[in-house]
Each structure stands twice: as structure tokens, then as C-alpha cells.
Symmetry: C2
Subunit: 219 residues, 2 copies
């Protein structure tokens, strides 16, 4: 599907279309800030939605296969999936209940996910996944051996058919509600790192790596 066809009929945002964004770089920015996605697939007419991690290289999304155990059983040339990434930015408190909202950025990608079979591509994909979540970690850890590589599944999905949806900024109330005597504004929400927990079996003298300190997803 070529870029000029975005949005497709399937990714066109139906509800609140003014919040839709179909720009590829904008979508990448959201994908690069998140690392947890929800993968949807259908088995015998029943949809399943499973959380898992992902990474991105150019226009390819790599998805950790732990989500896929159900799906993989029936997959050969790829199965239709929907990958959704949501970044929650805050609660929007309006004067009226009706105008309450959330600030968020979300991406929906439709397409077929296929198994990464080739060991070299799989190793490269796992590195992309790892570096996406915690840049610098891969080279600092013990690399996967053949057995581990075989025991891990990675899915590949093209970022071709997609849309983003965004809400930001203050509450928008009906004009006559601005005199309603309640507090209104935004309660920002953010995912932050807490205090590091050393593993109990850490030998003395091993320092916390620089890439872990001050961890943030802001890009």
C-alpha cells in the first residue's frame, strides 16, 4: 500500500476525526517512545489482545513472540493482526462530565505478522527489540546462544497501514459551562522509573551502568 493511500478505509479514524494523524514520522515518534504494544488477532472468531514488547527498524515493526503462542499455531503466510501502542499523557478534567477526556497518543497498525525464521534476522531483530527498550543493554549482557535463539519467537510486521490519534491540551468546555464552579484543568500522567533494585546475587564491585541511570522514554 503506497503512502498516498493513507488512511485506508480501515485505518481512517471514524470517531473524532480531527484527532487523527496519518503522518509516518509522527507515528514513528510515538512508536519510539513506547515499547509495550497490544497485539490483536482472531482465533475461531474470537479476538484476543495480548500485551508484548516491540522494536522498530525503519518501516518494520518487530514484535516479541511471547504474545503469539496461540496465534503461531495457525499461522503460515502471516495472520492478520492489529498492533496498538498507547501513551497516556493525562486526565482532562472539564466542567461538565461529558467533556472529560484523556490526553493520549496512540497508534494503530493493521497488517499481517509473519514469523522471523532466519537465525541472522532473528538475532538482529532481538537486538532491535532490546535496544528499543533499553539502549546499551544488549552489548552488556550475555548474548543468546543457539538454543535460546530457537526458543524465542519474533514476529515481523510492515508499518504500512496505520493511523495515529492524539489528544492534548486543556479541557474544552461548552461556553455556558465556563462559569460552572468547579476546578478544571489537566492532571498529567507519566511513566517514570523508580529506584533501582539490585539483584540479591550481584557480586560486589559491579556498578549500575550509565544507560540505566535516569531512564526515560521521552524522545
Amino acid at each position: 500500500m503506497s503512502e498516498t493511500q493513507m488512511p485506508s478505509a480501515r485505518t481512517r479514524v471514524v470517531r473524532e476525526p480531527h484527532r487523527a494523524v496519518y503522518d509516518r514520522e509522527f507515528v514513528y515518534k510515538i512508536l519510539d517512545e513506547g515499547f509495550l504494544c497490544h497485539v490483536g488477532f482472531t482465533v475461531d472468531g474470537q479476538p484476543f489482545v495480548i500485551p508484548t514488547s516491540y522494536g522498530r527498524k525503519d518501516a518494520t515493526l518487530y514484535i516479541h513472540g511471547s504474545a503469539a503462542s496461540r496465534m503461531l499455531r495457525q499461522m503460515k503466510d502471516g495472520v492478520p493482526v492489529c498492533v496498538t501502542v498507547t501513551l497516556l499523557d493525562g486526565l482532562v478534567l472539564a466542567r461538565s462530565v461529558f467533556n472529560h477526556s484523556m490526553n493520549y497518543r496512540s497508534v494503530v497498525i493493521l497488517g499481517k505478522a509473519t514469523l522471523v525464521d532466519d537465525p541472522d534476522e532473528k538475532l538482529a531483530a532481538l537486538r532491535i527489540l532490546s535496544e528499543h527498550i533499553l539502549p546499551g543493554r544488549w552489548d552488556d549482557a550475555r548474548q543468546p546462544n543457539d538454543r535460546e535463539l530457537k526458543a524465542t519467537s519474533v514476529l515481523r510486521m510492515p508499518i504500512e497501514e496505520f493511523s495515529a490519534k492524539v489528544r492534548s491540551g486543556p479541557p474544552i468546555d461548552d461556553e455556558e459551562d465556563y462559569s460552572f464552579p468547579t476546578w478544571a484543568g489537566v492532571l498529567p500522567l507519566q511513566m517514570v522509573a523508580g529506584e533501582l533494585i539490585n539483584d540479591a546475587r550481584l557480586p560486589p564491585g559491579i556498578e549500575v551502568p550509565r544507560y540505566v541511570i535516569g531512564y526515560t522514554r521521552k524522545r
Copy 2:
């Protein structure tokens, strides 16, 4: 489906079954800490996964219908959905790449979602949704009028067929990796509230309500 049948064949956790929990109270605790879910449904063989808010009353999940515009078009007696709630608790950094993981708590609920038609139930459901996200807010805001109530859709879903999956605690490395010279431990992650942003049109003298201060999802 009676409680004794949990897990069903469909909700039985296939991958890492030792992390599965089928206890209803445990599931409620996760549902009550979160308020953002990912709803999966299928249209013409294509799965869609849409983020939206939810609330719970006893064994009923109420889902904000903004997610459902696509789905509602084809829905009469309810459509099969999957509602997934994921709380991310941290990155688990092991000595080996293979044993890296995340700490999380997630719930998957399968079933049919139906539209809440009755205006009284809809109003009650919206209140449940609102109080689930920010207890105390409903009574402090301008209540929905008939027009607004009609313009809002709410879905109802029984919490009958479900499973939870949990990982917590330190990394678990292969015994021979404990001597590998890299830092290992947990990087906790948490959703926290930032500094409140007053609406620009807030009249002087309106104070920040107590229920907004120190907002946390911990239950």
C-alpha cells in the same frame, strides 16, 4: 460460565503457565488499579485493538464506547470482544539477554460486549466509569443532560471468562550466568501524576479539589 470452569480452553495461559492466575479477586484488584483497557474486536476478518477507559461494578465491566464506533455498526446482540488491561511494573535486567523480562500484571477478559441502552443504566454506568478513574469527580462536575447522554455510548461486558498473568520479582538467570560481570536487577516503572495544570479560564478562588491531590492508582 461458572467459576469452577476457569480457566476456559480460551483463557488458559499457554505460554509461561506458571505466571497465570485465575482468581476473581486477584483479577478485580488489577482491574481496579488500571483504567485504560485495550478492546479487541474483529471486522471482516481484520482484528482491531482500540484503547479506551473502563469501570467495574461487581462482575460487570463498563467500557467507554468511544472505542466502539466501528464495532457498533454491526452489533446487535453483542459482539465477541477481548478486553485486556496491562499494568507495567518494571524492566527486569538479567545477566543474559534471553532472561530479560518485564514485571507486569495483565488481565484478559473474553466475552460479548453489548450496548447499554437504558438511560438510567447508562447514567449509572457513566458514573461508575468516572468514579473508577477519579473518585469524587462526578459530584463535582456538571451532570450529563439528555442530549449528552444520547451522544455517549457505553458497553457492558460480563467478567466471566478471564485470566490474569503476572510476573514480579528479580531476574532469574541460568546458574552459570550469575558470574557474568554485568549489573542485574529491576528497573521499576510506575505511572505517576505530574504537576496539575490549571485551565486558563479558571476563575480566581476555585481551589484544587482534594480528590485530585496526590492522585495515585495504587489500591
